[in-house]
């Protein structure tokens, strides 16, 4: 990133904001803080941050409402901070348009990795860079070619489609439903096992040890993530 990106932190707990600020400072972000959903939404409009870190348990507004409101006019990356709540809540927020989530308590390393990934995706969207890298994996979205350590791998159309959707969100989680819809179509949302089986096949082709995957990792109950090893 050429100039200092701006992050807007919306969280009502001072001790959380304090360490988030210190963590983003280390990464040379410009940090803005707000305590309430309402003030957060205002700052999101006026200051146009490059990233929003949003706590889900704000006293004045529901997290889902905030995500939906922002998504109505902006594609700014949003990372959600949740307590270990039900998986359904996380899935709903991701489908409302949040880019990723971390569960409290979390390490700043984890949050920064998710944040960088979301910012990169946003940048790729505007620049149109067709090459995605994840560890030893290279995906050329323009020629639909996939390489593991420079060796070309042959994928079935569905395997490629799955990898493509994950690659567009490299480093961020993509929900089971989003993947089912993209690969099989909206009629197959109930067929979660299609996805499990396809992931297994794909892992055999791209992972060094398919039983201990490093690239295509699972977020149980939520979705899958194409991990960016440099970030982990």
């Amino acid at each position: 990133m050429s100039e200092a990106p701006t992050v807007l932190i919306i969280d009502d707990e001072p001790q959380i904001r304090r360490f988030l600020r210190a963590g983003f400072d280390l990464e040379r972000f410009t940090v803005l803080e707000e305590e309430t959903g309402e003030a957060g939404l205002r700052a999101a409009t006026l200051r146009q941050p490059d990233l929003i870190v949003l706590d889900l348990n704000l006293p004045d507004m529901d997290g889902a409402t905030i995500v939906q409101t922002i998504r109505a006019w902006s594609a700014v990356p949003i990372i959600v901070l949740s307590v270990r709540a039900s998986d359904e809540d996380k899935v709903r927020l991701l489908e409302d348009g949040a880019d990723d989530y971390v569960v409290k308590p979390f390490s700043i390393v984890e949050l920064l990795a998710r944040a960088r990934a979301a910012i990169r995706r946003q940048a790729r969207g505007t620049k149109g860079d067709p090459i995605v890298k994840a560890g030893p994996l290279t995906i050329d979205l323009s020629s639909r070619a996939v390489f593991v350590n420079e060796t070309r791998v042959v994928l079935s159309p569905k395997e490629y489609r799955l990898l493509q959707v994950l690659a567009q969100h490299t480093g961020n989680v993509v929900t089971h439903n989003m993947l089912l819809k993209e690969v099989w179509g909206a009629r197959h949302l109930e067929n979660g096992h299609y996805l499990r089986i396809l992931v297994r096949k794909l892992r055999r082709k791209i992972e060094q040890d398919p039983k201990r995957p490093r690239i295509l990792v699972s977020e149980l109950g939520v979705g899958y993530r194409l991990a960016n090893e440099a970030d982990e």
Binding site: G23, D87, I108
Partner: protein
Amino acid sequence: MTITLPHGLPHARLRELLVGVLFALLIVTAVTITLLALSPHLPIEHVTIVYLIPVIVAALRWGAIPAMFAGILGIAAPAYFFYAPIYDFRVHSPAQIADIVMFTIVATITGRMAVAVRHAKMRAQAETLRDALIGSVSHELRTPLAGIIGSTSVLAQSPAVAQDKGLSSLVLGVRREAERLNGDIQNLLDATRISSDGIMPNWEWVDPEDVINGALARKRTLIGERPVNLSVADDLPLIYVDASLIESALGQLIENAAKYSPPSVPIAISAAQHGETVHIKVVDKGDGLSFGEAERIFERFYRAPRHAGSVAGSGLGLWIARALVEACGGRIEAFSLGPGEGTTMRIDLPLKIQPASDEEADE
């Protein structure tokens, strides 16, 4: 019958009792007046049945003693007002004597049942209060802990600390302790939730490998440098469970293996199909179990006496793990050849008929 009254001042208890007795008298009077008013128009032969109402109401509302009082009044009132000779406590007719005997028996039984219902209700109220208390205390503790854990992660990244080995290990120590504390609080929360709401699994088809890797990732800080030998059978069938629940339970087994075996001694995790079940095993070379402990370790709050002073723990982890696995239709068991021989923990999950595969996935 022993009566356990709610704890409180004896004075307050006495007053409550008196209020109960007074109300019992009041209801019996009301019933009697109603019956006297009705009797010229409506021939009621077995009036004693109506006198069961005050007994049950008193037992439910005020407990055993007011109920007994209502019962005695329930015998006296019909004898005096309704059974010949009227306005006299003596009763002559054998049928009416039988009525009174029946009343006594039925009133005793229903009264005791009603008292039991009342006690169960009071106990449930006390438990709800306790659960609410644990819930709010846990939340109050977890927020600062999230702050502490997050702050240590920032400190560990800062150049000043990262370059100093001593400071780094200090920071890591704080983080591990805070995470352990957070885990204990989480267990407390889970245990309360399990006993108050039960578990509602979110069923889905899952790859057992994902569950194992998820549990390992979750316990990464705790495992540290300790080697983990993973052996998962090829082409393991999918399991139909709540993935998050099984991941939590397995994480608990991994945590126990790490806690109760010497550092840097490997832990083995394996998964294989046996008939109609999938077995997931966690094997450690630690302290093992003494005779009879294989069952006891799953009891709530059980802790082995030899670890009570040396290894921190709440005694809740395995109880929770068993509840989570059983909610998914599975079983969890412990095996050991004895103290010093290591422990094997095994989760058995039933296999369902595999879902129809997606033909198109191979196109």
